[in-house]
Symmetry: C2
Subunit: 332 residues, 2 copies
């Protein structure tokens, strides 16, 4: 079973995988998850994956067979395991717990070569609806403190299979970065009695020079302190702390703005490797007043040197105002 | 002039470079700093670099000519600029300051193909002595709050030139990760009245299953909550908050343990890309009692997916106890 371990100084949790029994040479292999020529995520190969958790599919088709539009499966190589109770222990200065959690894969489309360059708004809406279905289901599990939904696109962004997919990890702890955001937002709220994200959105809309896309419900912008070239955030205009509280009108609005924004990124940068992460409030924390869910999109154009994550100090050679201009030149 | 910008939620500072005027296509170039076939860091090519800040050299040789063993130059493409006063401003919710700082390159050896696989203990001691000379000099500058010394080795670790070198960035702010460590160590000290790093070192030496190397003054170990396969920390046994307070006996001890530890990493992993970062106390902060300087070495064997730095949540497929065993098999 994987193990969760806490760094005693910074309180950062790490998942340590034990069962794989890797050798030092194993890390030179570039794509350890290739399955010959057969893609396990393609229609017709459903038997190559664990049984599906859910799917959007033709009502006449059967689970784990062809006929789906979006399909969710447990990760075959999970970072955390769903079965068991939480067991917290300590040895001297160190704290740990067993690696309980969920690790699922959202196969975004039957088309092996599909992606945000050709997804319709409807397909994106189905993907978002799948995210919310799984989010709401896992949030009910009392063992979990956070549900992390993210996408790695392209090998440089950490994807090990080409077929378009996102992932979901439900964790029994709150990831460090999520906690920092919640605490930062709380400090701001106690000082100003306003949501910091609402203030950011208001200021961005009024200054306008970092706005990439806007519709009735959402705004996409290059953040003022972008860590990476062409980093882009998408946030709902209406204050809501939890991604799980998105309603069906908002799902359409989000599909529209993701369609527009990611197409611009793909066109401007030539289908770059990228990641996105949905930032939402932790399960069971009361942060309705001050937290504000959003999506952070990070194209992977520069190499992040070790000092950047060793120090938390980023150097970005592309001012967000210039990135916005380049993106606006490429109409969606 | 570069600009320092603060994320209003997490208080993370980012350096935004303005003058480069990059185009989106510029990020596809892998090694933008190649200078034809001539290496600007090789002896005989001294005129290709800015004038040296200092060097260890043959006393009969002249500055900016051949005859050096270690040579320090200002970075030709600095992330921060040394000239000027700090100017702090804000616009609405956002805070920023002009990009004042120092950015230097430490050329570690005249040999283009040298590295920790063949450095003598004496050469490593000279490199460390150079680090301390520059550290102490820059710490005196009242504009700077932190002096960050790090090495990127190999293209995958962010190095843009092959010739072995380290870097130094002096910043007018305290990098986020450094601040987190200082605050974590302070919390522990107030709770236990002991230094958390001293407790870690004591526990590691007593359990022994993560110790890679040890001498009179230093210990090298795989940290309990390693983020990366073969992550290795080196810490002084004697409690000292600042790297700048290292004495000449300790420089020899550190050279010895870096010689042993980095050779083991190179042998076990076949000259892997890696980074190391010297973690020390911020300038002008009084954290003598509870902070403890150390070096974190991070081999770059796995791709860090976006969710890992989006969430601060790492998955490590190599338990540190197993990493230690592999490293101990390869005697230095």
């Amino acid at each position: 079973m994987p193990q969760l371990r806490k760094d005693p100084v910074t309180k950062r949790w790490v998942i340590i995988l034990h069962e794989e029994a890797k050798q030092p040479g194993d890390f030179k292999v570039e794509n350890p998850m290739r399955h010959g020529n057969k893609c396990p995520f393609c229609p017709g190969n459903e038997s190559m994956t664990p049984n599906e958790v859910m799917s959007y599919r033709n009502p006449e088709s059967l689970p784990n067979q062809q006929g789906w539009e979006v399909r969710v499966i447990p990760n075959k190589f999970p970072a955390l395991q769903i079965e068991g109770d939480l067991d917290r222990t300590g040895i001297g200065v160190y704290d740990m717990m067993n690696g309980i959690g969920a690790h699922e894969v959202i196969i975004e489309s039957p088309g092996h070569d599909d992606g945000f360059q050709n997804y319709s708004r409807d397909q994106i809406a189905r993907i978002i609806r799948t995210y919310t279905d799984r989010y709401r289901d896992l949030k009910r599990d009392r063992r979990f403190r956070y549900v992390l939904i993210f996408k790695n696109h392209g090998s440089a962004a950490g994807a090990s299979l080409d077929h378009p997919h996102s992932q979901l990890i439900a964790t029994p702890i709150i990831p460090k970065r999520a906690m920092e955001e919640v605490e930062g937002a709380k400090r701001y709220y106690y000082y100003k009695e306003r949501c910091v994200f609402c203030d950011i959105i208001r200021q961005e809309l009024s200054s306008g020079n970092r706005i990439i896309h806007e519709n009735e419900q959402f705004v996409a912008f290059s953040p003022f302190a972008s860590r990476f070239p062409f980093e882009t955030w998408i946030a709902p205009k209406e204050h809501k702390d939890s991604f799980g509280d998105i309603d069906s009108g908002e799902i359409d609005g989000l599909a529209d703005i993701m369609h527009g924004t990611l197409r611009r990124l793909v066109k401007t940068l030539g289908n770059p490797p990228f990641n996105y992460v949905i930032h939402t409030s932790p399960c069971g924390e009361h942060c309705t007043d001050y937290y504000h869910w959003h999506i952070e999109i990070m194209p992977r154009l520069t190499k992040v040197a070790g000092f950047e994550w060793g120090s938390g100090f980023y150097v970005n050679p592309m001012p967000p105002e210039s990135a916005t201009k380049f993106l606006l030149k490429n109409g969606s």
